[in-house]
Symmetry: C2
Subunit: 384 residues, 2 copies
């Protein structure tokens, strides 16, 4: 792809030998400037040391300078040792970068749970990683992958020239409240840290938290936005562009779910509240029966109705409406349609399910993927 | 199998032509005596007319005389028409049996959602069904199956000679709060209706509601116990035997989940409350990643830990312990074990996962099955 980073950012990647495949497994994002940032992380009780450490740094309100990510090992459920290994990881990078305060380096780890981080390999790789810094995002986007089939990068440019680059990984164990998903958004737009933090929670809620692949949640997830403050822009335009980039990354993550062959977008309207709409949309996109029907191009709207019924949201069953690829299949009672024709319309890489709860005016969207035999194969054979 | 019904019961089955396969799809349970009964049904907002009708009858507190079940069509999401069709279904059976009050006949339907019940076929079949009554449970147990690979019957005899026979169906869409699960338990033991109703909620909570196949819930599920009051027995022995029969049926349902190759039993101890223990056990047995690992005989305890972390229960992570097939794999931090040997021990039809939350003294169990490529195949191709 060859996508240049926003002003004031450098990135690097290399293979440190964590992944048995020998593929790149170490990525660095760095700025010579202090970076404003906002952060969201997993709500799983089990949290990797990188999550806990970044959270603590976040509450200090201080800017950061670098973010280092390793794939192939989550350094999670590794006891006290894992906390020290994570600290050492940050320390090795800070030293190689000549950064005095090790807290200025954020860390992220993704991969197998419960194995000790090969800290010697990381320490040994740090100088070469720092040496490899350049202006493209692509190598870093590749190095953060685990079972992802492709790297995920999204770019946007604002009217005044400010730029936004998002990179993410995510594949299995992806689910609301930040599951195995790492998402990093970099911008050179000038923005006050408080403003950025105010936006971020809402952006994450309507984008990354609306993606589900398998309903499992990971202890390592985080979404971070970093700004180098180099280019002036209009605030409202920036907020919208950040949300747009986050949404496109969320869609890419859903589309690339383990074993997935299609992106499922569920749009819920007529909800009593935005929360209800989001909960209902996620309930549909999470249902294994809906996901399997989507895989088989089966216009089985009964499974959608039943998923809504179990979602715990307010709806008016006598007026509730469901459509598949824009074709109404249910409206209080079954609507006549041609199953063969609709099945052919479903046989694409993008399936759109729309549900009107007939209970209010709020709406919400969730993204997911179909359930294929390949998902089972990947997860029966791969130790995450 | 040829298992005789308890005293005071007759059963029948035949193929009414609802299933395209021509297999039996109509079952009758009948008694010449008034039957004491207790009832639990789905909590899905979407409820089939049979569920609503039985609920209403249940609140009357009156005994019943017969239960008729059809498979191949759920008569759900069929609007007003479905309500009348269900009433007609009960009426046809009452007439053929010579029962004056149509409310004395309970109904249950399972199968595809959203298609009109072929009421003419059912009406035509009613006299032959009534004619076919005999003393064995087996034909009825077969006629209630949908994608089940085998019929599910459990028998128990009390010391005084009273008997209990349970029959059930369940395969996909099985999940707590009564998903596509029909379970009927018949006994000739003398028991007061109020006593039976007092027990039933608790029995269902610790047995059928602890089974999950895919996290989906069905609008047609019900569990009913019926007593013909013919043989005296000790009350406590009866309560325990009923729970035992319900538990064995629950295990059979889990073991026969769509595409399943093994029964997974998750036992949670050290919980702050029974509710916490049950919630945690279900969270583990529901996780697609745990289920896929079980399928691949992968001792991937990280996925179990992460499922507990997301379950919303109280636990002490520093002391939490996990074992697989009795081998401790985690206790606050990873415990050394031989992965190859443990994987070989997991390669059986019964996998036992034990989790000690280290937060109290309560315990609970849940049952489920592994996730195989066959599950996807069944659900991508079968319109439920």
């Amino acid at each position: 792809m060859a996508i240049t980073l926003p002003l004031g950012f450098q990135a690097a990647a290399l293979a440190a030998g964590i992944k048995p495949s020998g593929k790149p497994d170490l990525a660095l994002i760095y700025s010579p400037f202090p970076l404003q940032w906002a952060f969201t992380s997993t709500e799983n009780l089990v949290k990797a040391p990188c999550v806990t450490r970044n959270r603590s740094r976040y509450s200090s309100g201080q800017p950061v300078r670098a973010l280092v990510v390793n794939s192939g090992n989550a350094n999670c459920a590794t006891g006290e040792q894992g906390i020290w290994d994570n600290e050492d990881f940050a320390g090795a990078i800070a030293q190689a970068l000549g950064i005095v305060k090790v807290q200025d380096v954020l860390t992220a780890s993704t991969g197998v749970v419960g194995r000790r981080l090969p800290i010697d390999k990381l320490r040994a790789a740090a100088p070469a990683l720092v040496e490899a810094r350049q202006e493209l995002v692509d190598p870093a986007a590749e190095a953060i992958m685990t079972t992802d089939s492709r790297s995920k990068v999204v770019a946007a440019t604002l009217r005044g020239g400010a730029r936004i680059i998002g990179l993410a990984k995510g594949s299995g164990m992806i689910h609301p409240n930040m599951a195995t998903m790492l998402a990093f958004i970099l911008t050179d737009a000038v923005v006050a840290q408080e403003t950025l933090r105010g936006w971020w929670g809402k952006i994450v809620e309507s984008t990354f938290n609306q993606v589900t692949v398998d309903g499992d949640t990971s202890p390592n997830d985080m979404a971070i936005v970093l700004s180098s403050n180099q280019v002036y822009c209009e605030e409202r335009e920036l907020a919208q562009a950040l949300e747009g980039v986050a949404q496109r990354l969320a869609q890419q993550i859903a589309r690339d779910g383990e074993g997935a062959t299609k992106l499922i977008t569920v749009e819920v309207t007529g909800a009593r509240s935005s929360r209800d709409a989001r909960v209902a949309a996620r309930a549909v996109v999470r249902s294994p029966l809906v996901k399997a029907a989507a895989h088989g191009n089966d216009p089985n709207w009964g499974r959608i109705l039943v998923a809504i019924g179990a979602a715990g949201v307010v709806c008016d069953l006598a007026n509730l409406a469901i459509s598949l690829q824009g074709i109404t299949v249910y409206q209080g009672s079954p609507t006549p349609f041609d199953p063969g024709q609709l099945s052919r319309q479903m046989a694409t890489e993008e399936l759109r399910i729309t549900v009107n709860l007939a209970a209010g005016t709020a709406s919400g969207v969730a993204w997911g993927c179909d359930l294929s035999a390949e998902y089972v194969k990947v997860n029966a054979e791969y130790t995450t």
